[in-house]
């Protein structure tokens, strides 16, 4: 999926993550800020990258501000931001690209 415009999902509340996606070139430029970066930085990065791959996002600037989100929350926020950047809110492929 192409990132058509900048879009954001999530909040800075505890157990949440705020994810911003912006149009980009030359692959995925991922920046992560987290209070638990030393323990979970690698896992957060892997979850975000896997989610983008499932959504077939190949070029984007992605910023994650993590506030101790579970994996399922991270995925939800990335997916929401990507679909928002395409203006899509219906007929989501639940269980397909979103899983």
């Amino acid at each position: 999926m192409e990132i058509k415009k900048a879009a954001m999902a999530g909040t800075l509340e505890s157990s949440d993550a705020q994810v911003t996606v912006e149009p980009g070139e030359n692959g995925i430029q991922l920046s992560i800020e987290s209070s638990v970066i030393h323990q979970f930085g690698r896992q957060i990065k892997a979850t975000v990258e896997e989610t983008l791959e499932r959504l077939e996002v190949t070029n984007a600037k992605v910023t994650v501000v993590d506030k101790g989100a579970l994996d399922c929350t991270l995925k939800a926020r990335v997916e929401c931001a990507v679909y928002r950047s395409n203006g899509i809110a219906e007929n989501i492929p639940w269980g397909g690209a979103v899983r």
Binding site: C72, T73, A76, E79, R84, N91
Partner: protein
Amino acid sequence: MSHPNKKRLRRSMMFLNCQKPGLIKDPYIYRPDSIMLDLEDAVAENQKDAARYSLFHALREIDYRGVERVVRINGLDTAHWKEDIRVCVAGGADTIRIAKTESARDVHTVEEHVLAAEREFGRPEGSTLLMAALESCRGVLHALEVCESSERLIGIALSGGDYTKDLQTVITGTGVELQGARQQMIIAARAAGVQCWDTVFTNLDAMDVFEEEVRMIKMMGFDGKSLVNPRQIDVVHKIFTPSQKEIIFAEKVVREIDEKKAMGIGVFTVDGKMIDIAFYDGAKRTIDLAKASGVYEGDL
């Protein structure tokens, strides 16, 4: 055949806002009978989409340890309910709570879309249960037709805030404004053989008033109550779980009726109280409730 979970124990049904990851990640620790993951009023209009992604992953990835997962979807007068149904079914929600139900037709509309979603996502047909929230005078007046509308329907719940608005009054704390609706709904639910739940109580500083209200709705015949805070769960469970004294008396009634029936005796006394066959079902229900609540140690 009826769904095996249609009549499961539902004393406490706790609302949780799907917009808040911190709330939906581990509510099973409070041991409610059901959680109601909310896509409706608690979720801001511009966050309806975000709440669905959170819901989907929560349903798929969080082990709620036997707590029933109900999802409250947006009303049929909104643009959201169809996608809400898709995500509920795809995620594997146990039950869908239909907001602002006014007629059997509303339930049928939801049922059609649920069936389509079960086919789309390869879930067993008929596996998703429904419950209907009555939130208007029209809805309350149509309680019986709603209760009889679908094999999937587990019961009806009163939504007091919207209902009192429609009635042109307010929640007073005395319960007088809700009397008619509560009475009508419980009678309709019992006539149709489905369950019935009372509305939320939102004043968390008045736990004594809350407790009184729970005692009252228990006496009226309700199966349980919608809740807004984990602190309310234990109060409801305490009141809705039969005491040892009640259980022992119910056991005596069941045994005595069985025994006396064989001897050709119709009416007799147990602990000084006159008992006949009319007490049998009530006593059986007390024992079933004790079993479902995990407090029964007898052998009936």
